[in-house]
Amino acid sequence: MKAGSNLEKILSKGLFAVTGELGPPKGNDVSVVKRKADLLRGYVDAVNVTDNQTAIVRMSSIATSSLLIQMGIEPVMQMTTRDRNRIAIQSDIFGATALGIKNMLCLTGDHHTFGNQVDSKNVHDLDSIQLIDCVRTMRDQGTLLGGEERIEGKIEIFIGAAENPFADPFEFRVVRLAKKVRAGVDFIQTQCIYDMKRFKEWMKMVRDRGLHEKVHILAGVTPLKSGGMARYMAKNVSGIIIPEEIIDRIVKAKKPAEEGIKLCVEQIQELKEIEGVHGVHIMAIEWEQMVSQITEMAGLLPRPKGE
């Protein structure tokens, strides 16, 4: 056992894990965290807490994660290398593990020009792979980056990272995953999936390299609220591919929201059958209330208790 977190127990038992995602408020209003947490409690094994997503200033990921712990929900703290240099990162990990956070997602993070602090200086002291390596060194060797400094105390953390099978160059994506595995990642959450054919191709390449035994892969899904949202994501968010027929299906549907949920559930069922997919990561940003309905319709309930 690496960290003994609920997510880790479920995955190591070979059960199908379900994780959700929660965006902290653009301020310090704890009730927002509470409201979203209540919507997810019991329906997911762990809840991702984003770290200033799309470079928009929000409550910090550590603070929100520790609030979730107090509310009895297991968080997955996301950490980007955009805002912190290696000193801040390692000290934040000390703090996080001290507060009982047991899961972590290492991300490079969106470029600051997307957010609301365009003039800021981006750091990028490490990149996501170097961050994974750094956390693994702290956990397994008990030393800081560079290897000499002994850590007072023990770092127990379940390391995760993101992967986007739909970005280019496609053949390279598996190589990048292999690098992350070698760097010591434990679980992977992919970008939201709509182009099922390409995802299956990617999974085949993952299996060819035997990576699906070395790391737990959670497939990311995002229910589409409306045709407009579908078209916006397809055009503006780079690295997301939404096939035409899916956009048409949502646009032509009488009730697009319901159609979106139905599509999401179908995707989950289809993802279950793919060998090597050990779970699903439902990113229903600003639509957390639908997670209960999705998990219910996809037959993922009740969530097992990770004793």
Partner: protein
């Protein structure tokens, strides 16, 4: 070569406002090559400044000079006897030139006329693109000769981020994703194995500017 662009005119006018007689000095090297501070631009700017000041009734007298370079002490000293006649020096050289003059004219205000922008390559006449950040420890060998630190928006050292699509960077649609170029370059050289190896975290604090003021000393050359 160092690439630079002339400062907006309002800024220059504001910076030389208190002075009645200035020395406008160009530089015959990098800023000449990128048409920002050569003799042609010196004469053009001089004429424009005189006219601008004449229009607001504060005539400005300008002496013009363009030494071959401004980043060598001797060339900078070429301007010394001209500097006695003026109240300030407006230098169209890059940041290096301006600060070399400051060393030799301690009591003379030296004002920059151009914005030094980057070390770059000429794509075609009149179009230049950034190529090097002078980060102190070149990794071009590992990336097939294309530098991710100067050409990738997030300075990634291990492969393209999730936002690279159709070979273009998500931040600037017209810019190529550096790692896509690296991937294509290495595959054409048949060295894709180089992408498998993890490039460890860069020692920014020792090699790059983060280590504070950097100095190269060649004992063999010292006089």
């Amino acid at each position: 070569m160092i690439k630079a662009e002339q400062k907006p005119m309002e800024e220059i006018l504001r910076s030389i406002d208190p002075y009645k007689k200035i020395l406008l000095s160009g530089c015959g090297a990098c800023v000449t090559v990128c048409h920002a501070g050569g003799e042609k631009e010196v004469l053009l700017l001089a004429s424009a400044l005189r006219m601008a000041r004449k229009k607001i009734g504060k005539p400005l007298e300008i002496l013009e000079a363009t030494p071959s370079r401004q980043c060598e002490p001797e060339y900078a000293q070429e301007l010394s006897e001209l500097s006695e006649k003026v109240e300030a020096i407006l230098s169209l050289a890059c940041g290096v030139g301006v600060q070399t003059l400051v060393r030799f004219f301690p009591k003379m205000p030296v004002l920059p006329g151009v914005n030094t922008t980057f070390l770059g390559e000429t794509l075609s006449h009149g179009i230049w693109e950034e190529r090097c950040q002078a980060c102190g420890n070149c990794i071009l060998e590992k990336t097939g000769g294309i530098c991710p630190i100067s050409r990738c928006a997030k300075q990634l050292l291990n492969g393209p981020c999730g936002g690279s699509s159709k070979g273009k960077c998500e931040i600037k649609k017209e810019a190529d994703c550096a790692w896509q170029l690296i991937y294509d370059r290495l595959s054409s050289l048949g060295q894709l194995y180089k992408l498998e190896e993890i490039i460890p975290a860069k020692r920014w604090g020792i090699e790059s500017r983060d280590s504070g003021l950097r100095r190269i000393i060649r004992e063999d050359l010292k006089i």
